[in-house]
């Protein structure tokens, strides 16, 4: 037991450093995913047919291939066409574009779940199509998409672990280094698992609060 506590003391500083990197990657990727995913989702529903096709292909590409291959393509493949990215940049870009594909799909199904009468009523009071999307459809769709989006945010915390394969010193990257330094892989990966669970737990708490704040009777909650 004392050995384990000694080990814990030795590895914790490095693991905390890794945690900061993991949080950084997850946050930036989610935000990037949102910035890209929002217009992609809207375009998939309301755009002209050619645009829907192009965006559909993008979504299929990122949902249909392993994340690891996407990461390798961005980090090792792009330099072949003259685009060289740093490790962190490659991580942000890959996870961001990957997340955007998923976020766009959640938004798309939420947009389609808003009844057609909402658009009709908005147009009937003189709103343009874009005004109607912006002030009537989107505020409802975003709320409807929130539970699925929460799952995406939590999953993202764990997806980030692939970046250790391009030698980013995230939580998993640190774990790998420490595991070979102290010859104690089981103990260290166990500790790291606890770190991930703690991160996910905190994320759940925050997301539940957001969902509660955004609740509207009859839309995402009961009528009381």
């Amino acid at each position: 037991m004392q050995d384990f506590i000694d080990l814990l003391n030795k590895v914790t500083p490095d693991l905390l450093r890794g945690t900061v990197v993991t949080l950084q990657i997850a946050t930036i990727s989610l935000v990037l995913g949102m910035i890209v995913g929002l217009p992609v989702g809207i375009g998939r529903v309301y755009g002209p047919v050619w645009l829907q096709r192009v965006l559909g292909a993008y979504v299929t590409l990122f949902q249909g291939t392993p994340l690891l291959i996407q990461l390798f393509m961005v980090y090792y493949g792009l330099p072949d066409i003259g685009i060289t990215l740093g490790r962190l940049q490659a991580a942000f870009l890959t996870l961001g574009l990957n997340s955007a594909a998923y976020q766009a799909e959640y938004l798309r199904s939420a947009l389609q779940a808003v009844s057609e009468g909402q658009m009709t009523a908005a147009r009937a009071i003189g709103m343009s199509k874009w005004q109607a999307i912006q002030s009537v459809i989107l505020p409802q769709a975003v709320r409807l998409a929130l539970p699925a989006w929460s799952n995406e945010a939590v999953a993202m915390l764990k997806y980030t672990s692939v970046v250790f394969l391009i030698a980013v010193p995230d939580l998993m990257g640190q774990a790998k280094i420490l595991a070979s330094r102290y010859f104690a892989p089981i103990q260290i990966y166990l500790i790291v698992a606890v770190f991930y669970i703690a991160l996910v737990g905190v994320a759940y708490l925050i997301l539940t609060l957001i969902e509660r704040r955004a609740r509207i009777p009859g839309l995402t909650g009961d009528t009381t």
């Binding site: 009844s115 009709t120 009523a121 147009r123 009071i125 003189g126 005004q131 009537v136 409802q140 009859g218």
Partner: protein, 245 residues
């Protein structure tokens, strides 16, 4: 004789090979209340959606006041702002309170400031007797209350004509009265209204004119008295006899 507020000339509407409106002409004077009746599928609702350009006609022309709204290049959003519409299914914005439902058009379309919009929205809610429900969400309102909020939302845009598409058909019978009372009050205030409805009591009391449509054409029109007591056409007689029972 004043000039008509709405003039519909030989309007046709097709969806693919389905010919719903087959040449409808109708002229509405300011302050007039016109009740459209007819069997389902006769094109009444389609005609309303043609008038406010939600589904523009495939052929024919429509004038609102002295503007031809079916002319190419017309700003359709502007036209819709001047034509209020109330739907059978209310279509209140689910994510907004009653007040928010009335305010949003004032802010986004009429470009009012928030305070100004709130005051006018409260005024419109008072007009339909729902000031005390201003902060309720649609899901917390009864059907009749929802429909009255929908009327307030349309009134907020300061429409010149109001279209009602079966405004009481989705309501429980005991809730139709409050909606019809608001509509009657509006008519009394001089609002020009075109109402698709099978509420014959309302038609008899409030309408200046009853128009009977069938198969995408106007079969007959006249005063309620004429239409209910001595319609010229056998089809009008048969239809009205049927729904009066």
């Amino acid at each position: 004789m004043t000039s008509p507020i709405l003039r519909i000339e030989d309007v046709h509407k097709s969806y693919g090979s389905l010919h719903v409106l087959k040449g409808v002409s109708l002229t509405v004077q300011p302050r007039e209340v016109v009740v459209l009746v007819g069997p389902s599928g006769s094109g009444k609702s389609t005609l309303l959606r043609c008038i406010n350009l939600l589904n523009p006609p495939t052929k024919g022309r429509i004038w609102l006041e002295d503007q031809e709204i079916t002319a190419p290049g017309v700003n359709q959003d502007r036209v819709r702002q001047r034509i209020g519409m109330v739907f059978q299914e209310f279509n209140l914005f689910t994510h907004l309170t009653a007040l928010g439902n009335v305010m949003i058009g004032l802010i986004k379309v009429r470009k009012m400031r928030k305070n100004e919009a709130r005051d006018l929205a409260m005024f419109e809610l008072e007009r339909v007797g729902l000031a005390d429900r201003a902060h309720y969400y649609p899901a917390q309102l009864s059907g009749g209350q929802k429909q009255r909020v929908a009327i307030a939302r349309a009134l907020g845009m300061d429409p010149h004509v109001m279209l009602f598409d079966e405004p009481t058909s989705a309501l429980d019978p005991e809730l139709t009265g409050e909606v019809l009372a608001v509509m009657q009050k509006l008519a009394g205030e001089g609002m020009t209204m075109i109402v698709v409805s099978h509420e014959m009591g309302f038609a008899r009391q409030v309408a200046n004119r009853v128009v009977f449509m069938e198969g995408g054409v106007v079969v007959e029109e006249g005063t309620p008295q004429h239409m209910f007591e001595q319609p010229t056409h056998e089809r009008t007689r048969a239809f009205l006899r049927n729904i009066m029972q």
